[in-house]
Symmetry: C2
Subunit: 323 residues, 2 copies
Amino acid sequence: MTDIRRIEAARTRLAGNIRRTPLLHAPSLDRIAGRRILVKAECLQITGSFKARGAWSAISALPEDVRARGILAYSSGNHAQGIAWAAAKHGVSAVIVMPEDAPAAKVAGTKGYGAEVVQYDRARESREDIGRALAAERGLTLIPPYDFPDVIAGQGTAGLEIAEQAAEAGVNQADVLVCCGGGGLSSGIALSLAATAPGLRMRPVEPVGFDDVKRSLETGERQKNAALTGSICDAILTPEPGELTFPILRQHAGPGLLVSDEEALEAVGLAYRHLKIVVEPGGAVALAAAMFRSDEVPGDAVIAVASGGNVDSALFSKAIANA
Amino acid sequence: MTDIRRIEAARTRLAGNIRRTPLLHAPSLDRIAGRRILVKAECLQITGSFKARGAWSAISALPEDVRARGILAYSSGNHAQGIAWAAAKHGVSAVIVMPEDAPAAKVAGTKGYGAEVVQYDRARESREDIGRALAAERGLTLIPPYDFPDVIAGQGTAGLEIAEQAAEAGVNQADVLVCCGGGGLSSGIALSLAATAPGLRMRPVEPVGFDDVKRSLETGERQKNAALTGSICDAILTPEPGELTFPILRQHAGPGLLVSDEEALEAVGLAYRHLKIVVEPGGAVALAAAMFRSDEVPGDAVIAVASGGNVDSALFSKAIANA
């Protein structure tokens, strides 16, 4: 189970290895929004996304002899890079199982951190079968992207920082908008805020058409998405809320918010122009909601998490063309 | 005169108003460079560049009755935005004299901070005459972009932070590469490092063809540039080193470095890809020197200042196309 004590313990393990990312703001952005917009820039995290927190937390919590046998992960994106980096920094091997059609840049990035990449054919093979065989053969430990207590605890450390940084900025009452795929980051932050900053309320943000978390919160039961592709917010497209993350969200999250792909792209452009940070579309949905859902988000100040910046140059250029 | 006491005093005035920008690094960038590359991300500063430091420092140091009459500046770029922001935050008016052909985005940005923009015809009018007339008529105080003790002191606060952050990162011996136009930032940082981190050496970086500071350091006398246009590094094209900044550079700076426009653009792309920050070409020359002049820069670690991020979208897209 993940609770505030586990998050505090993760923070101790992360200290000195993970960046305390800044809570950015820009007077020019506040002027457009008509209120204060504070952005937790997790795109500036090591490996370019918050995933490094959960990866470090999980790998550092393993018993030394287990860790020494190596780590296994399935991912074509930010989790892969987080795991590859954290394993290498611990001096242990990592195997990442990726689909053959994963973008070359992401494969190269993951290999660049020293991981072994095993590719599979999405149509004919099961990554779970491949993973199980590898794990059995080499004694690897699987670290899932979100449904894992020490991953959630690691992501939750971002929430501890938000609580402190919001207080430093004089913000004690605000919605904290967080992009949401499987719910690792959002549930971790929700736990941290509930324990340390009760005036701050975590609310998940998803792309239109991939609103499993919003509907699950409304119905009280885990709902599935109809599709798994069809949005540029690839980093946060997951089939349904996690088994471990959903109970936390149900207890601590405020109502979900939805934004379109066009709004996510426009938020990428606003972050470029006003904050000088590179955010990927899936990482910009929270800022999009802060800017374009003001009727649904109360208060004089809004906090949005910019979760990652691993974005293709062509897409980024499109986003900033009119920024 | 600017000395370390003036810089320390500026830091006290800046506290709570200016961002302590992060010293970023990325394992993937270190791998390309073959050593540690630490980037002081002043593009994340309020108003998008370090200029906010000097502007705040100078305006906050004025006697209250002088400040209340208003501020005057000549600038088409980052200094204008810094002054406009700092004046507004002090509740006083600012008049910025800008050429008629200044980019619309920069004019709009400056007006957005609440400044009055007075435009002039570069070919037929003198900004100095216009400025003198305005100053006499309204009692405005001129804050120059670099040759002004409290501006240099404000920029120098970035050097105090670099000294502390380098020590935290375990770097006690390194070249600190700083983009250099008139020399406000580089001389301020040089003073701070000389006083607080003697193992860190400030070295100015300029675009090829605009090497006035490098040649001035070599000859011991202020040298002029042959041209004032012809590089994409517009933020750092100045006619010659400042009257106040050059003696400081002569005493404390290491040898100058030069990079081409192409290398500056490539550094913009590297900062985008690996650090997730938006840097303008003139702000990226130090990172370019860190990456592409390794034969001229000794040591296991290099620190580069990324001084600003106010860049046109089309140029930025060009820079990142192959990143």
